[in-house]
Amino acid sequence: MFRNRIVLAALLLAGTLASSVSAVAPAKVYQIVIDRVAFEDAPTGIKVGDTIEWFNKDIVDHTSTAKNGAWDVTIPKQKKVRVVLTKAGVIDYYCRFHPNMTSQIVIKK
């Protein structure tokens, strides 16, 4: 009896968790290509919890460096690097190696 109640409670809890998770849009992965020494424009609709994957198709290494310090990653040539976005805002970012490469990501709550 007692055991059944625990199982039931666990099931209920699991159900609640599952429904609360499904109510929130699942996190997405957006790819931004780097080619010919430029960042591709960021897609719209990016939200907190989503992931950006930079794909550096260039002949040299680059960085993605947020001006507000939110992230700073090196993306070696011909490699992909991911960053999970944790805060909302309009973030300007650039490449530390080639500061003439600049772009912006709008992250919504």
């Binding site: 020494v37 002949i59 040299v60 490449c95 530390r96 190696f97 080639h98 500061p99 490469m101």
Partner: protein
Amino acid sequence: MFRSISAVMAVLSVSFVTAFAQGGAKPTDPQIAHIAYTAGQIDIEAGKQAIKMSKNKEVIAFAENMVKDHTAVNKLALDLCKKLGVTPEDNDTSKSLSKAAAAKQAELAKLTGAAFDKAYMDNEVAYHKTVNGALDTLLIPSSSNAELKALLQQGLTIFKGHQQHAEHTASMIK
């Protein structure tokens, strides 16, 4: 110090222009390939010297990036020459670039600490400015092969980034 850098740069700028201005001669693709490759090698050597001599984290990071980027671009340039059957041809511009670079290297070798860092970074700013100017106004317009032209254009965008990176790093040295 600033005056001597300006003097070297003046000589460089003049050599880029005058070497080909006589008789309206344009550099040929084999000559352009040689000049671009030489200019890259010079910056690789300067970077190696800075990595060895500097103790400034920012300066070393900049120098390491110069070695990496110019090595990557020069490798592509050599691969392209091979593919196109172009043999890079030595010329007066390449020679004067190398000569000026050797003089600068000797001058920098006498310096240490912040004096070295400042002289190296100032020279990187001026050098990239000069070479980028030459690429923009002489080498790219004169190149006849489309693939060579495209590689030089991509190189120029990268090197313009280096110039900004150099200006930023130079501004941080006291």
